[in-house]
């Protein structure tokens, strides 16, 4: 049985189509990344899966239960952990109070273990929490009852890099235990580190679903170079260089900016060794290779327009 199945799921708010006939399946035991720019409709899909909004058309099933049937969905919710994109806790009570309420309703067999990893200040009122602490509290509430399926909306928003890493390790361990994770993100590198498969949503419609390594091969890197000496622009005449922008630093004299550069920026989808071979003979000050921003991935591969 698939953990999540969507079939033609559509949600319209008046003239706005938040979800446009989404059809895909999340298999049991995988980490599935639901990727798209802000406003693409990710949160609407997630909120439909949990029964907060009802679909205009189409169906969805979580853990085999139809999301349109409240009593069936309640059965599924005993085995689902959810983290919303905004903290969403009672601000006048302490973190411990919030956990006690969740424990009373759905159980807390893993509470202590989770609090070792993610340690929000439980004695303080939620009002005084930083964004990161609220997120940690949310992670504990999402997993404290040992769910089979975790549905997480932008789970790492507000977490510092250390906690992000810890959370990534935690999710991998969850997958090892056989749990299914469905999470949304607008951050490609996060999805890259974690996911088995990725679904990309844009303007409410599904653009593609593919294994994460295939997506990354296509998305490319952003490469930034600063050199001590001028490099002829021809040196970068290799396959896979896109959107090359070059300039010459002010303190370097006698260089024709149309044929050489000391600083450049481009997106690269080819073999990284080819670039390094070409640069090897020049003295560099700095070189950075980063994931392409998701916006660029959309622009390059899916005919994106300026609005992404």
């Amino acid at each position: 049985m698939a953990a999540i199945e969507l079939e033609g799921l559509t949600k319209e708010y008046g003239d706005v189509v938040a979800n446009d006939s989404l059809t895909f399946t999340v298999e049991t035991g995988e980490i599935f990344g639901f990727l798209g720019p802000n406003g693409a409709g990710k949160t609407t899909t997630i909120r439909t899966l949990l029964g907060f909004v009802s679909p205009t058309a189409g169906t969805a099933r979580v853990l085999g239960r139809d999301v349109a049937e409240e009593s069936a969905l309640l059965e599924a919710k005993r085995r689902i952990g959810y983290l919303s994109d905004e903290p969403g806790f009672d601000e006048q009570r302490t973190g411990a109070d919030v956990l006690d309420l969740h424990a009373a309703i759905k159980g807390d067999s893993r509470r202590a273990e989770l609090l070792e990893l993610f340690d929000p200040p439980l004695d303080r009122r939620v009002r005084e929490y930083s964004q990161g602490n609220a997120r940690k509290l949310g992670i504990v509430t999402a997993f404290m009852h040992d769910p089979d399926l975790a549905i997480l909306d932008e789970p790492t928003n507000g977490l510092d890099p250390l906690m992000r890493q810890r959370f990534a390790d935690f999710l991998r361990a969850e997958r090892q235990r056989g749990a299914t994770v469905f999470f949304s993100s607008h951050n490609l590198s996060e999805v890259r580190r974690l996911c088995d498969r990725v679904g990309i949503i844009r303007e409410g419609a599904l653009v593609t679903i593919e294994p994460v390594d295939a997506l990354l091969r296509r998305s490319g890197k952003v490469i930034r170079i600063r050199s001590a000496e001028p490099i002829p622009t021809d040196a970068l005449g290799i396959e896979g260089v896109h959107d090359l922008e070059t300039s010459v630093a002010d303190d370097v004299d006698g260089v024709d900016p149309s044929t050489a550069f000391t600083e450049c920026l481009f997106t690269f989808t080819g073999d990284i060794n080819a670039v390094l071979d070409r640069l090897g003979e020049y003295e560099l000050i700095d070189l950075s290779i980063e994931e392409a921003p998701l916006e660029d991935v959309f622009m390059r591969f899916y005919g994106g327009t300026d609005d992404v």
Binding site: S54, Y82, P87, I105, K106, G138
Partner: protein
């Protein structure tokens, strides 16, 4: 069961105690001014100077006894209007505030039905409704003896006990507003407006051809004058208030079940 009600009830406890103290102070003040008031005016001649409509709105029957004075100064003004509006306002915040602030998702992601959530949140409004009725009767019974106008224990207890179904019915009006409007400010204003409008409809139309309109107002079924002056009450009125409360709760549950949040 009742996890949400317990949790929300605890949230409401502190405010309810302050409210209870405030209303008890108001009661003490009314008792304290009564002897000088009745000494200055003696009979009901002051009432004759008032226009009939005003006596109707404020349900003033007599001021020649402490009971009549309290029925108007404390119960019509304090309980029927002030507390009626207050609990409607509080109930209007129950669901709408959580939806407005993004807390509802976290609650409903737990295995709890929407109907149960609404019912338990409504139940928690019972905390102020009950707590506000605990302190004032004691203050009145002691105070009335201090000024040598002793009130009947049974009547004072009854007037407070019977205010509970009345206040729940007002809270029911707020609850409906809370599920209809997802902006908490709008829900609260609508609840205050609706409750006050019902009070006016019932009070102003009572002697007119449109008196039946007042039948939908909870205020018709709670009559402190009758309880305090005659020592009787209408059990049908109590049943109507309970029925109204249940109907408003069920309506709220049905509306919320189908709502997009």
């Amino acid at each position: 069961m009742f996890e949400i009600a317990r949790y929300e009830g605890r949230n409401r406890l502190k405010g309810s105690v302050y409210l209870s103290i405030g209303m008890a102070l108001l009661a003490a003040m009314v008792v304290w001014v009564y002897p000088s008031f009745s000494g200055a005016f003696g009979g009901d001649e002051l009432l004759e100077a008032y226009p009939e409509e005003m006596l109707q709105v404020f349900r003033i029957e007599t001021m020649t006894s402490l009971e009549g004075f309290l029925a108007f100064e404390l119960y019509t003004f304090g309980w029927i209007v002030l507390l009626g509006l207050y609990v409607a306002y509080v109930a209007a915040g129950t669901v709408a505030d959580d939806v407005d602030r993004g807390r509802m998702d976290t609650l409903l992601a737990m295995p709890i039905s929407r109907a149960r959530l609404v019912a338990e949140k409504f139940l928690a409004v019972g905390v102020p409704i009950v707590v506000v009725n605990l302190l004032t009767p004691i203050v009145l019974l002691v105070g009335s003896r201090l000024i040598d106008e002793p009130l009947a224990v049974a009547d004072v207890v009854a007037v407070h006990l019977l205010s509970i179904p009345y206040l729940f019915a007002c809270a029911g009006i707020g609850l409906v507003c809370s599920v209809v409007f997802d902006r908490v400010g709008v829900a609260q204003r609508a609840a205050l407006g609706a409750t006050f409008a019902l009070f006016l409809v019932e009070s102003l139309l009572v002697e007119t051809d449109y008196a039946e309109l007042g039948a939908i107002a909870p205020m018709r079924y709670y009559d402190p004058n009758e309880i305090l002056l005659d020592g009787t009450f209408d059990p049908v009125g109590v049943a109507v208030l309970v029925g109204m409360t249940v109907a408003l709760l069920v309506a709220s549950q049905l509306l919320f079940r189908r709502a997009d949040i």
